[in-house]
C-alpha cells in the first residue's frame, strides 16, 4: 500500500503535472460545469441498436479533464475496483496526450472502453471524487473520460499492446472469457505465463457480449479488446466446456499449473408463479443471449425471439432495463417494467432508468405478477398483476413490498421477460466435490488471494459474488492473478 502511495506521489510530482496544475487556478477549474454526455434522440434510438451515448469530442474531453484538481490524496482511486491511476490519465487528457491516457488506463484495466461505458462510476470513483465528497458538486466525469481515451486510441489506430515479460512456459488455464477471466488472463500474460482461456460459448466476452446490449456496449468494442489480448499471447478456445470437454485433471496432466474460474452467474431465476412456463415467457438471460449473441432480431437467422407488441419485463435492475429497452427496439408498442417496489428503490443505474423513460418504456412500479394466462396454443396472452404497497424496511434497508388485497387486474401481454436475478453457473462446482461453496452457491475464496479450497484453483467475478458488476469481476480477476502468480512462483521455487 505504501508503495502505491509513493508511486502516486512520484507521478504527481512529475514536472508536466506540476506545470499543468499551475496552468489554471483551482477556482477556474471548480467553476466549470460537469460535461453532459451527448445522447442519441430517444425516439430515434429506441428503434435501432446504435449506441445511446455518443461519446465526448476532444475539446470537451480536455475541458472536462481540466475540472480535475489532481488532488494530493486522490480518493477517486480508492473507489476504483481495479485501482486505475485516475488523476494521471485525466491529466494526460487535459495535456492532450490521449494515447498516453489510454496506456495509463491499460496499466491496470484490460478493458477501458468497456468500463468507460458500463461501470457504475456514480457509485465508485465518482462517488469518491473530491467534488462529490467535499464540494457537494457533480464529480469529474471520470467514466466519460475513460471511454474517451480508450475510444480515441482505437479509432486512431494506435492501439497499444501492453508489454509482456519473457515467456516462462508455465501454463495457466482460465475458465470463462467474461470480464473476470479476461482481466486475469491479461495480467498473467503480462507476467509471461502461457495463458489459455476456455470459453463454453461460441463467442468470447461472456456477459459483455451475451448480456449487455449493443446500444450500451457494441460487440465490436469487446472484440477489439480481446484482439489486443491475443496479441499479448493469450490463447482462446471456444465451444470448450471445462468439466465436460476436458476435466481439470486432464488439463493438469497436460501441464497446467493453476486455474482461474470465472464461469459467471448465468443460471436464470424465475418466480415460479402459475403459468410461468407458457410459451414466450423468457428469462432475461435467454432473451438477451438470443438477441445479442444469436441474431434473434434478424429474420435470416434460425434463433428467433418473438417481437412482441405488449412486452412485460419483471424486475428492476440493469438486466431488466437492458431487456425492456431491447424489446422496445424489436418493435414493442408497449414495453413495460413491472417492479414490486418504487422507482427510487430500483437497483438499476439511474442513467439506465433515465434512458428507458426517455425511450418511452412504461414503468409499472408497485406492481407484481401473480399469474400468467395463455391462448389455445399455449402462448402467453395475459398477465395478472397485484398492486403492492411499501411496508417496513427489510434487512437491506429498503421498504418491503406488501401485496394489497383485492388489487389484482389483468394486462394483455404477448412476451414476458423475467429478470429477477441469477445464480452462479453450477457446472464447475458440480464436477469438483472438494470445492467449498457458499449458501448462495458461490465459490468460497480467500478474499486476499481469491484462492479457493482447492489449492491450484482461484476464482472471481459472478461465480464468487453472485450477479455483480463488470468492474468488480475485473478487480477479482486481477487480484486472483496476483494470488496465482505468488502461488505458482512458490510452487515452482519449491520444485
Amino acid at each position: 500500500m505504501n508503495d502505491i502511495k509513493e508511486y502516486l506521489k512520484e507521478e504527481r510530482n512529475k514536472e508536466w503535472r506540476v506545470e499543468l496544475r499551475k496552468s489554471m487556478k483551482a477556482k477556474e477549474r471548480t467553476d466549470r460545469v460537469r460535461v453532459h454526455m451527448p445522447e442519441a434522440d430517444p425516439i430515434v434510438r429506441n428503434k435501432n441498436s446504435e449506441e445511446v451515448n455518443k461519446g465526448l469530442v476532444d475539446k470537451i474531453a480536455v475541458s472536462e479533464a481540466g475540472r480535475c484538481l489532481d488532488c494530493a490524496n486522490p480518493t477517486c482511486i480508492d473507489g476504483c475496483p481495479v485501482g486505475i491511476n485516475i488523476p494521471k490519465f485525466v491529466k494526460q487528457i487535459e495535456a492532450g496526450d490521449f494515447n498516453g491516457a489510454a496506456s495509463t488506463l491499460k496499466e491496470t484495466n484490460a478493458l477501458p472502453a468497456v468500463c468507460g461505458r458500463v461501470c457504475p462510476q456514480e457509485k465508485q470513483c465518482e462517488a469518491s471524487c473530491f467534488y462529490t465528497v467535499s464540494l457537494k458538486k457533480d464529480p469529474v466525469a471520470i467514466g466519460h473520460l475513460e471511454r474517451f481515451a480508450a475510444d480515441f486510441e482505437r479509432d486512431n489506430g494506435h492501439m497499444s499492446v501492453p508489454v509482456v515479460d519473457k515467456p516462462n512456459g508455465i501454463k495457466i488455464g482460465v475458465v470463462g472469457s467474461g470480464p473476470a477471466g479476461l482481466a486475469c488472463a491479461s495480467d498473467m500474460a503480462k507476467w509471461g505465463y502461457d495463458v489459455t482461456v476456455f470459453e463454453a460459448l461460441h463467442e468470447l466476452g461472456g456477459v459483455l457480449k451475451y448480456g449487455i446490449p449493443e446500444f450500451r456496449l457494441p460487440n465490436y468494442i469487446v472484440d477489439v479488446e480481446i484482439d489486443i489480448m491475443k496479441k499479448m499471447g493469450v490463447k482462446f478456445k471456444k465451444n470448450f466446456i471445462i468439466g465436460k470437454t476436458l476435466s481439470f485433471d486432464d488439463l493438469r496432466k497436460d501441464g497446467f499449473k493453476a486455474f482461474f474460474i470465472g464461469s459467471g452467474a448465468g443460471n436464470p431465476s424465475f418466480m415460479n408463479i402459475p403459468g410461468e412456463n407458457y410459451n414466450n415467457i423468457f428469462s432475461s438471460n435467454e432473451y438477451l443471449t438470443r438477441v445479442n449473441l444469436m441474431n434473434a432480431a434478424n429474420d435470416e437467422f434460425d434463433t428467433p425471439v418473438i417481437s412482441g407488441k405488449n412486452v412485460a419485463v419483471i424486475g428492476g435492475g440493469n438486466t431488466a432495463m437492458d431487456s425492456v429497452r431491447t424489446a422496445k427496439r424489436l418493435g414493442a408498442e408497449r414495453a413495460m417494467i413491472v417492479y414490486r417496489r418504487s422507482q427510487e428503490e430500483m437497483p438499476a443505474r439511474v442513467e439506465e432508468v433515465k434512458h428507458a423513460i426517455e425511450e418511452e418504456v412504461e414503468f409499472m412500479n408497485l406492481h407484481n405478477p401473480v399469474e400468467y394466462f395463455a391462448d389455445e396454443k399455449g402462448r402467453v396472452n395475459k398477465m395478472r398483476v397485484q398492486k403492492m404497497e411499501l411496508g417496513e424496511p427489510d434487512a437491506s434497508g429498503r421498504r418491503r413490498p406488501i401485496p394489497m388485497e383485492n388489487s389484482e387486474f389483468d394486462i394483455d401481454v404477448d412476451t414476458v421477460i423475467v429478470s429477477v436475478g441469477v445464480s452462479p453457473n453450477p457446472l464447475i462446482p458440480s464436477v469438483l466435490p472438494d470445492l467449498k461453496i457458499s449458501k448462495w452457491s458461490t465459490i468460497i475464496v480467500d478474499p486476499e488471494t481469491m484462492q479457493s479450497s482447492i489449492e491450484d484453483m482461484f476464482a472471481g467475478g459472478d461465480i464468487v459474488r453472485g450477479g455483480a458488476t463488470v468492474i468488480l469481476a475485473m478487480g477479482d480477476g486481477r487480484k486472483a492473478a496476483a494470488g496465482m502468480h505468488k502461488y505458482v512462483s512458490e510452487k515452482v521455487k519449491v520444485k
Binding site: P120, K123, A265, S269, F270, M271, N272, I273, P274, G315, G316, G317, N318, T319, A320, R341, P347, A348, V370, E371, Q386, D394, A395, S396, P403, E405, S419, V420, G421, V422, S423, S438, K439, W440, T442, I444, V445, P447, V464, R465, G466, G467, A468, T469, L472
Partner: protein
C-alpha cells in the same frame, strides 16, 4: 381380528393414526421410517409463510456481512424472498414426489398461513407433486386490536376459498379453539368447502425465567390433559358436520385414540407421544385399538365412531353443562 381401516378426507388409511406436522415428518427418510412402524398417514412439516420471510431477512443480513457477496443493487437479492420460497418449496415438493413414488401411506402437505396472499401457486404445485391432501394450518393471532372478530374470521374463509379454487385434492383446515363462536366458524369452513377440520392447533407455551428475567418456552410437548378441549368439540360437532374431523393435541396412548373415535373423530394426529415414547409407540397404540375393538366385539371403526357424541341434543351447551353439573353437583 379387527379391521383398523378408516376413511379421512376421502383417503383410505390402514389405521386412524396420522403423524402430525412436526420434525418427525420433515424428510423422506423419516416418513419412510414412520410407514415401516405402522403410521396410517403423515402430515408433512409445515411450510411456514413467516419462516420464508425470516429466512430472507437472515440471508440479506448475511450477504451484507460477507465482503465477497455483491449485495449492493443486486437483482438477485432484490427478490431473495422469492428465491428462498422457491428453494424451500422445491425441497418440499421433492419430499412429496419421492414419498408418493416409494411409499404407500397417504401424504398430506401442510402450509402454515398468516395471510391469504401467495399460497395459491404453492397449492397447485403441491397437488401436482402428488400430495394426497392439503392441510391449511391457519393461525392468525389477533394482535392487531383494531381488527374486529369478523375481519379476522373472514381471512380464514378467504384463505380456504383461494386454495379450494386452485386444487382438487381434499383440503383440511387446522385451527385453534380460541374463537368466540367456534362452532359457527367450523360450520362456515364446511360451507366454504373444507373437506375436514383438525382440532386443535397447539401454540408455544410461554414461560418466564424469574432468575434470569427472561421469556422462555415451557411445555415443549403436549400432555394427556391437553386432549380435553378437542374431545369436547369433536363430540359436539361430530354429527353436525358432514366433513371429517381429525383430533389432535394430547393424544398419547391407544385409549385416547379410542375416546376420540367414540366422540366422533375419523382419525387422530399425534406427535408429542412419538417424541416422548419413540417410534415404536405407533404400533403400541394401534395394538391397543385393535385389542379394544376385539374385546368390545367391533370389527370396523365405523361401528363405534361417534357412539358417544352429543348427537341427541340440539343445544350442545346443555351437554357441556350437564357434564359439569353431573360431576360437580352430583346430579344424576
Amino acid at each position: 381380528m379387527a379391521d383398523l381401516t378408516t376413511k379421512y378426507l376421502g383417503l383410505t388409511l390402514r389405521n386412524p393414526i396420522i403423524i402430525a406436522s412436526s420434525g418427525l415428518t420433515d424428510s423422506f427418510e423419516k416418513i419412510a421410517e414412520l410407514e415401516r412402524n405402522g403410521a396410517g398417514a403423515v402430515v408433512l412439516k409445515s411450510l411456514f409463510e413467516e419462516q420464508i420471510i425470516l429466512e430472507a431477512e437472515h440471508n440479506l443480513r448475511e450477504a451484507g456481512k460477507n465482503s465477497m457477496i455483491y449485495d449492493e443493487y443486486s437483482e438477485t437479492l432484490d427478490y431473495i424472498d422469492i428465491h428462498i420460497r422457491e428453494k424451500e418449496l422445491g425441497k418440499y415438493l421433492d419430499i412429496i414426489k419421492k414419498a408418493k413414488k416409494e411409499l404407500s401411506i397417504p401424504v398430506i402437505a401442510s402450509v402454515n398461513c398468516v395471510s391469504d396472499i401467495g399460497w395459491t401457486g404453492f397449492a397447485r404445485q403441491i397437488e401436482k407433486a402428488g400430495a394426497d391432501a392439503m392441510e391449511l394450518n391457519i393461525s392468525i393471532m389477533p394482535f392487531d386490536f383494531e381488527k374486529g372478530c369478523d375481519e379476522i374470521e373472514q381471512k380464514y374463509y378467504k384463505i380456504l376459498q383461494k386454495v379450494k379454487k386452485e386444487i382438487n385434492i381434499p383440503v383440511a383446515v387446522k385451527i385453534s379453539p380460541y374463537f368466540t363462536n367456534l362452532g359457527k366458524i367450523i360450520l362456515n369452513l364446511e360451507k366454504e368447502g373444507a373437506n375436514g377440520v383438525v382440532l386443535f392447533n397447539r401454540f408455544t407455551s410461554p414461560d418466564i425465567d424469574v432468575e434470569n428475567l427472561k421469556l422462555t418456552v415451557s411445555e415443549l410437548y403436549s400432555t394427556p390433559s391437553d386432549m380435553i378441549n378437542s374431545l369436547r368439540w369433536v363430540a359436539i360437532l361430530a354429527n353436525r358436520l358432514k366433513i371429517d374431523i381429525a383430533a389432535t393435541t394430547g393424544i398419547h396412548d391407544g385409549k385416547a385414540i379410542v375416546k376420540q373415535i367414540l366422540a366422533g373423530a375419523s382419525a387422530v394426529q399425534v406427535a408429542s407421544s412419538i417424541y416422548i415414547k419413540g417410534i415404536s409407540h405407533i404400533t403400541e397404540m394401534s395394538k391397543y385399538l385393535e385389542d379394544w375393538m376385539d374385546k368390545k366385539g367391533y370389527n370396523y371403526i365405523d361401528q363405534f365412531k361417534g357412539k358417544l357424541s352429543s348427537n341427541k341434543s340440539s343445544r350442545p351447551e346443555i351437554y357441556e353443562r350437564l357434564q359439569f353439573m353431573k360431576y360437580f353437583s352430583k346430579i344424576k
